[in-house]
Amino acid sequence: MDQDTPQHEKEMDSYTQEVLERGVSRRSFLSRTALGAAGVGLLGVAGLGTKKAEAAQGTEALEFAKSSDGGATLSFLPKPNPISDKEIKTTLTFDVIVVGAGASGVPAALSAAENGAKVAVIQKHPMPISQGNTGSGIDLATSEKAGIEALVAKLMADNNHRCNPALLRQWAYNSGEAVRWVINRAKQAGSPVVDQGTGPQHGIAKVNGYTLNYVTSFFGPKPYTAGDGMRHLAKTAEKAGVKFFFNMPAQQLVQSKSGEVVGVIAKGRDGKYTKFLAKKGVILATGDYQNNEAMCNYFIPDLKHFGRKQMDRTGDGFAMAYWAGGVIEPIGHTKMLHDFDAGPASMCDMPFLAVNREGKRFVNETVDMSLFNNYLRDAKNAGHYSQIFDANYMTQAAKWPGKLVPPEGLKNYMPDDPSPKKGVFDSLINTHVADTLEELARKLEIDPKNFVASVKRYNEVVASGKDSDFGKPADRLIPVLQAPFYGIHRRVRVSTICSGILVNENHQALDADGKPIKGLYAIGNLGGGFYGGVDYPLTVFGLSLGRCYTFGYLTGKHVAKL
């Protein structure tokens, strides 16, 4: 790392302090209870240790997780049932065990193998999986250091300053190398991946006047995605000696008496257990918990009415890390909700008139699509809205940021149009055209009466030149007057939740005292500290996959060299 800012690393950063103070862990609430109780003189002053506090909490604390203040029992984090050696069918020993074959797990495994380790990947799915197309890094050689720091500062602001700056810098200074490596290794197995460079990174080729260049991997176009990309990368990993075990969900970590994580027990399809022992470390790359309803309701109740984009993301890694002594970031996790599929992705942030399911305008449309979910959290809207424009959009919106797709191209996103579809998921397209507003409303599944009234009102606002309803800038106001009328019915759903387990810069999990847990690492969306805002920022297009690749690449290397 060529960064010359050692003052960032000398003492514990405020992010880590905060998570230790307010995060959810086995021991944090116990010691806090002890302190609190001692403070009010209930339990005396001498010798009040963790054990006594635990006893005071009753046996419930031994079976389920507790909230950070000890007040709530978290039934979604049950203590794993002990699995005796008698129940283990097979025991296998490797240097490094990676749990989860996704956008961070597969790179971690390959990276570890290239650095000399004997590696196993255990995956609950029948194959590696990932989503999205774009993964990004910074090209160090052609970027100004002030630019890199300016981008880090911008991302900190995007994260509402609730992240670990050291992790952002680690991405910034290593991602170019890591993303290039992923591209190269996936190509070796025949992936059509390309480096799009700075091209897709609108608005950040210069930050505060400083120059930046990017390495942007594109696994696409759809239906080819990073999922196919990781399946290609896994082929390269297999050639490098990595052993993959599919259909084997991890059940629990194996710890030594001193608490060191020494392996994982996984369950096969036949219901029998295999114990995977790790000489150097276990890297958890198990992803988020969007399909664990109780866990979502606790950590991020905003998600209650939104559809989920993924399946089987049940937070297994959270439970494993928690019971091994790890700390889960406190309530207020960061969410990612998008819809790039219903219509062209390049038009998703263009500030056309937007209406909700009732057919009513609900927001100043210059708000990013990635934030729209905050206005659509109720049961009725549940993430649905429509972008509306008329026959003149190609000329009237020509100067807006983004990229307009002409009417002929829009047909590719229209389920009612018979033309063959290309580069899209045709079960997710949802763009419509109609000669009347009423007909368009029906196709968009919104109330025609409200819709016609909303368009009428919007046209009045546009004609006045001032958006007296929502304050949108005048140059973003174009009328909806001339047929045919167009609508893109978007439905934002949960792509991922990107808050996780407290880690240090080696991506090693920390315990409630801030000490690294020997043998335990967390990467990808299970790793904490990289985000922290209400929503995942779309400043760097492909930051999420770029971060997954980078931390997989670095952590695999680090653990292999132990």
């Binding site: 799915h125 029948p126 559809g307 045709d426 079960s427 997710l428």
Partner: protein
């Protein structure tokens, strides 16, 4: 011996299930089964085909969860199943981007409650009739 029994039973009603899946139940004995299955009780269909509780659940009095491997024991390889449903429209439900051919049978085909179309919440055009 046990395996033999499984094999034979599999041979007898695996084609029936496939017929249900692709929705071409053309009368006869299978049509009755289809009605049962659509009513949400695939378990009854199994029972009527002579599959005793313990054959899936190990012990009928203390039923154990049924791993997917039990299904495959009678119904065979998922890749073969996927071949049989290759022409189902709008797409093959048994080969998809999420699981390949290895989606757990139980995510759609429930035994003791109504089966569900697991694709539908996200992919509206996939209006499969799930037995």
């Amino acid at each position: 011996m046990k395996n033999n029994i499984k094999q034979r039973r599999g041979f007898r009603f695996a084609p029936a299930l496939v017929a249900l899946v692709i929705g071409i139940c053309a009368g006869g004995v299978y049509a009755a089964h289809a009605a049962d299955a659509k009513g949400g009780d695939l378990g009854k269909l199994h029972a009527s085909a002579g599959v005793a509780c313990a054959m899936c659940h190990v012990d009928a009095k203390h039923p154990a969860p049924v791993p997917m491997e039990k299904c495959l024991g009678c119904h065979g390889d998922t890749r073969k199943l996927a071949e049989k449903t290759a022409n189902v429209k709008p797409r093959n439900p048994h080969e998809n981007r999420h699981y390949g051919t290895e989606a757990d049978c139980n995510i759609c085909h429930h035994q003791h409650k109504k089966s569900e179309n697991f694709c539908l919440p996200c992919h509206q055009p996939f209006n499969f009739d799930v037995p």
